[in-house]
């Protein structure tokens, strides 16, 4: 009788490979396939991200067709076609039907996909839920025809299996088409394919994307620019971001003969001298061959690398969107909502977090068709990829919620949380390594360095919003005054003079008393032949004024502008021009005009107007000249400004009686009998 199996033998009998299928089943939610709605979105997202990455790498303007069609009640067919470089026949099976296979995992630069899981996971999900193979069509430019492969992922071996293969003619020079049939549910609204494609179009204004939905609705997002974003450079790994395993991998793989040379040439930020110093600190001979550094010596090396003072990681491996394109992307996609204000987008300089460079960009849109009574929309992006799920768990949302938006003109309960108002925030985090909360890459994890940058960028954007809102409220205040002096006063004079049987009085003194401002009106007028800014400066104050007017335009706009009359001075590099205006009597007005070539990309918001010779409280439509302009003002202007300030102080002393028509007085009586 054989002896009974030992415990160790019993345990050994249970040890076996976990199949890929089991792994997938157990990790559905971290991969983004835990329900039919999310599975569809993840599939579209992986295919779209891959397509844009591929086209950009080949320096082709991405052109995507995303089709979602209904197969049965529970099954959808998703097809994404791109104009990328195409994939070589021999690579197709591995790219689409093998987990953890990819070209970017080891590269140290910003890219949409990184892990080599995404699209293969979608293929696997399709295989598992509908037993249908993925159908891949791809053509590279140097071949005449396209290869069509039907693939399944062998879940035992994590290997692709080609079910069928064909060669067809395809009417495009190069490109790839992925077709999957999967168990999924189509929705519209938030977290829908349309939502995803729209968001993608905003931060990728160089892409043209067409979406065809199951009901046949076809939505086209045209590209807003033909400039491809510069390809992020691949850079050497920086010691700050290095883990022990990675260091070992690099040491093993390098061709450098000595460890000193490896440190100085295969890593970023390590000079030959600092390599020597830190090797000495780690007690490793500089001439040691890299492959011989093992185990405990690797740890010592990593410790002294981390302790050394090294050059900061370079940031040219990042590909920010840039403030110009954020604005264009937002305007291109949100134009139909007619927002009243697109804030100048904020692009923070790159910073480093744990050895990896990163940067934050923020855009703000306000007003128009955006709902005023709901929480603002936050469009979150990581490396130009929209984040649609887990908003509440995301570092971006937290940074938004930690800012007191009431100071910037939005409503916010208790001064924290997502604010309420007709606004939309775009927040983009670009990095070679985004700290996601999970493999599904749906939310960014908290990090003090990142949070600091997010806060600074949000504050800068919020300040633009506050400026806009305060200008708007001053405009409303002005329009109220204009209504009084232009419509109501003349009628009041007419009615009362008729009743008393006398001629209507001259209203100039009353008008200037009511207004008591110098008003600068400078709209942008677009005509086919040119764009003009007809500027009117009116002295609605009771005293004559000598004023100096200053304009600040984007320098490229100033370069093509002509003025009538000519300015008394300009500073082209700074985009500045100025005029000494003729003396303005009470109610007096002077005009000047700025002419620009047709279609000049300029808005009233892009031009700042400043006036010297009158204090801020008596100025509308312009701001007082900032102190840092360092302009020598004519003596008359300085004197006028001083006199005006004295006037204002004197006027402030006169006390006002209760306003009879203020809400309080009439409301309490309305409440009564």
């Amino acid at each position: 009788m054989p002896p009974p199996p030992t415990i160790a033998q019993q345990l050994a009998a249970k040890q076996r490979d976990i199949s890929i299928a089991e792994f997938f089943e157990r990790n559905r939610q971290i991969l983004g396939f835990d329900n039919p709605q999310r599975a569809l979105l993840t599939t579209v997202k992986e295919a779209v991200d891959n397509s844009i990455d591929a086209a950009e790498e080949a320096r082709v303007l991405p052109d995507l067709l995303v089709e979602v069609a209904k197969e049965t009640d529970e099954r959808l067919r998703v097809a994404v076609t791109d104009n990328g470089p195409g994939i070589l026949r021999r690579e197709i099976p591995n790219v689409f039907a093998r987990l953890l296979y990819g070209s970017r995992f080891h590269s140290n630069r910003q890219a949409r996909g990184q892990q080599g899981i995404g699209i293969s996971a979608a293929v696997l999900y399709a295989n598992l839920t509908t037993a249908r193979p993925a159908r891949i069509t791809s053509k590279v430019e140097e071949e005449e025809a396209a290869h069509v492969l039907e693939l399944v992922l062998d879940t035992q071996k994590n290997q692709p299996r080609v079910v069928s293969e064909d060669v067809v003619l395809w009417d495009r020079p190069h490109g790839t088409r992925v077709e999957l049939v999967l168990k999924a549910r189509y929705t519209r609204g938030r977290q829908s394919p349309l939502d995803y494609v729209r968001s993608t179009a905003i931060v990728n204004p160089h892409c043209r994307i067409v979406l065809v939905e199951p009901d046949g609705t076809r939505t086209t997002f045209e590209r807003a620019t033909t400039d491809l974003p510069p390809l992020a450079k691949e850079t050497l790994p920086h010691p700050f971001g290095l883990e022990l395993g990675e260091l070992g991998y690099l040491l093993k793989g390098t061709r450098r003969p000595t460890v000193a040379e490896f440190l100085a040439k295969d890593l970023q930020g390590v000079s030959a001298r600092s390599a020597k110093e830190l090797l000495a600190a780690a007690k490793i001979p500089a001439s040691e061959p890299p492959a011989k550094i093992q185990a405990e010596r690797q740890e010592r090396l990593l410790d002294s690398l981390r302790a050394a003072s090294l050059l900061a990681p370079s940031s040219d491996c990042l590909s920010p969107i840039g403030s110009l394109l954020i604005k264009r992307g937002l305007r291109n996609v949100l134009g139909e909502l007619r927002p009243e204000f697109f804030a100048p987008p904020v692009s923070r300089p790159p910073k480093v977090r744990g050895g990896f460079p990163f940067m934050v960009e923020v855009g703000v849109v306000y007003g128009g068709g955006l709902p005023a009574d709901q929480a603002i929309q936050i469009l979150r992006f990581a490396n130009r990829v929209p984040l649609l799920f887990q908003q509440g768990a995301c570092a971006i949302t937290n940074a938004v919620g930690n800012l007191d938006w009431r100071r910037y003109g939005l409503e916010q309960k208790g001064g924290s949380g997502v604010p309420i108002g007709p606004a939309l925030l775009l927040v983009h985090v670009a990095s070679t390594k985004i700290p996601f909360t999970s493999e599904a890459k749906e939310a960014i994890a908290e990090d003090p360095e990142l949070d600091k940058e997010l806060t600074l960028a949000l504050q800068a954007a919020a300040r633009h919003l506050r400026t806009h809102l305060s200008r708007k409220s001053r405009r409303e205040f002005a329009s109220e005054k204009f209504a009084i002096i232009q419509k109501i006063l003349p009628k009041l004079a007419e009615k009362t003079s008729q009743l008393v049987g006398k001629p209507p009085p001259d209203l100039t003194p009353v008008i200037t008393r009511i207004m008591d401002v110098v008003n600068v009106d400078a709209p942008v007028v677009r005509a086919p032949e040119r764009v003009t800014l007809p500027v009117e400066v009116t002295n609605y104050t009771p005293r004559p004024r000598v004023l100096e007017l200053f304009a600040e335009l984007p320098p490229e706009v100033l370069a093509v502008a002509t003025f009538a009359p000519a300015p008394d001075g300009t500073e082209p590099e700074l985009g500045r021009a100025w005029w000494t205006l003729p003396k303005l009597a009470p109610n007096g007005r002077t005009k000047l005009e700025v002419s620009l070539p047709p279609k000049t990309d300029v808005e009233a918001n892009d031009v700042d107007w400043y006036v010297a010779g009158v204090d801020e409280s008596h100025l509308l439509g312009a701001d007082p000249l900032p102190g840092d302009w360092d302009v020598r003002l004519p003596r008359t202007i300085v004197e006028a400004a001083e006199a005006a300030a004295q006037d204002a102080a004197a006027a402030g002393a006169a006390d006002e009686e209760v306003d009879y028509d203020a809400a309080e007085a009439s409301a309490s009586s309305r409440d009564d009998e």
Binding site: L492, T496, P505, E657, S669, D671
Partner: protein, 378 residues
């Protein structure tokens, strides 16, 4: 508890003929004032006494609450003020036009007339009513002097009261408000002045002013007016000016005491206040509308407890209304304060018809006789 107030000496309406004199002259004075300001280069403005709760002051001589000395300015410096100034003269124009054409207009018609006033048109009837009251204050006239009147709202009177009414055709009709009218009673016109209505005589001993129509019907059906020699007047919620004026004339000319019988809630207290003390909105003519001798019969907060009446919990709005009453100078007597505080403490309100809990006759056979005896009216 009923809150007792010293019955003020009934005021005779000596100043009445003054009020009803030529209304156009003061409106022209207003136009002249604004014209001169414009001509002098001043921002046009008018000063008006504030018609707020805080600006009520008690007039010893008349025993009513009138406007105090706090003034506000309506100025063309602000859009709202400028619009109200302009509306004032559209209104003056319209009044002149009506005087020329011998027409009158309802308040609601005026609101629609303003459709032709361009930016000066009224946005709500509240706005036009407020402006008319402003004009009353500024010109020391009544809106009827400006040929403006409310729609007939026909508060009804039931009881042995004989009056003479001059009708639209100028005929004088003699009417007894019990024998010559249907079940609906005699309907008050908007004008209840002497030239329209005069009193012939009555056998009644007192007047009972009632908030709800259902209770008026109950008392009439039970023959309360005949049994107790009472005149029933239906207030229809917050009473119209004509109803309040009629009550005042009844006490002054026929020397009848007035008691007010309402629901037991904060809003009913305000109904009583407008009858007895004078309303905030019409404080400028309180001496003409208020009946200082009127007394509150109930339903009081203590009635709800003593009679164990079916009640509802006070709503948030009710509580706010009671708290506002605690800062209202008209309710600043010990009796009213304790009444309001008791209601706040118990947190309950009740309708007058909740007395039906004890049967249809309970109110006329038990509740009213008991209360009226306590008050010394019966």
């Amino acid at each position: 508890m009923p809150p007792k107030r010293a019955r003020a000496a009934a005021t005779t309406s000596d100043d009445e003929p003054k009020i009803r004199a030529d209304a156009l002259r003061p409106t022209l004075a207003l136009a002249k004032q604004i014209y001169e300001q414009l001509d002098d280069g001043e921002i046009p403005r008018m000063r008006l006494p504030l018609r707020t709760k805080q600006n009520l002051s008690f007039q010893m001589r008349e025993g009513v609450w009138k406007l105090g000395k706090a003034m506000g300015t309506r100025s063309a410096r602000k859009l709202d003020g400028a619009l109200m100034l302009l509306r004032t003269f559209y209104l003056v124009d319209f009044i002149n036009e009506m005087a020329r054409d011998r027409k009158t207009s309802t308040l609601r018609e005026l609101y629609y007339i303003s459709e032709g006033w361009e930016e000066a048109k009224f946005h709500s009837e509240d706005e036009s009513n407020l402006l008319i009251e402003d004009l009353e204050v500024l010109c020391q006239r009544l809106r009827e002097d400006f040929r403006l009147h409310p729609e007939e709202n026909g508060a009804s009177v039931i009881g042995d009261l004989t009056i003479k009414e001059r009708n639209r055709k100028g005929q004088v009709k003699r009417i007894n408000c019990r024998d010559d009218v249907g079940d609906g009673g005699y309907s008050l016109p908007f004008n209840v002045e002497k030239e329209k209505i005069s009193f012939v005589g009555t056998n009644a001993k007192f007047v009972i002013a009632i908030e709800c129509g259902g209770m008026v019907d109950r008392l009439a059906e039970n023959g309360f007016d005949e049994d107790q020699k009472a005149i029933l007047i239906h207030l229809k919620g917050q009473p119209a000016r004509s109803t309040r004026r009629f009550l005042k004339r009844l006490t002054e000319e026929l020397e009848l005491p007035v008691v007010v019988f309402t629901d037991g809630d904060p809003w009913s207290f305000r109904i009583f206040a407008s009858v007895a003390f004078g309303a905030i909105k019409t404080a400028h003519i309180s001496n003409y509308l208020a009946t200082p001798g009127a007394e509150f019969l109930g339903v009081t907060a203590s009635d709800i407890e003593n009679y164990e009446l079916p009640s509802d919990a006070l709503s948030d709005q009710d509580v706010r209304a009671l708290q506002a009453e605690l800062t209202d100078p008209r309710f600043a007597t010990a009796e009213w304060r304790s009444e309001i505080e008791l209601m706040l403490k118990n947190g309950k309100k009740a309708e007058q018809q909740s007395l039906a809990k004890y049967g249809l006759n309970y109110v006329t056979e038990h509740y009213l006789p008991e209360k009226l005896n306590q008050m010394g009216v019966l």
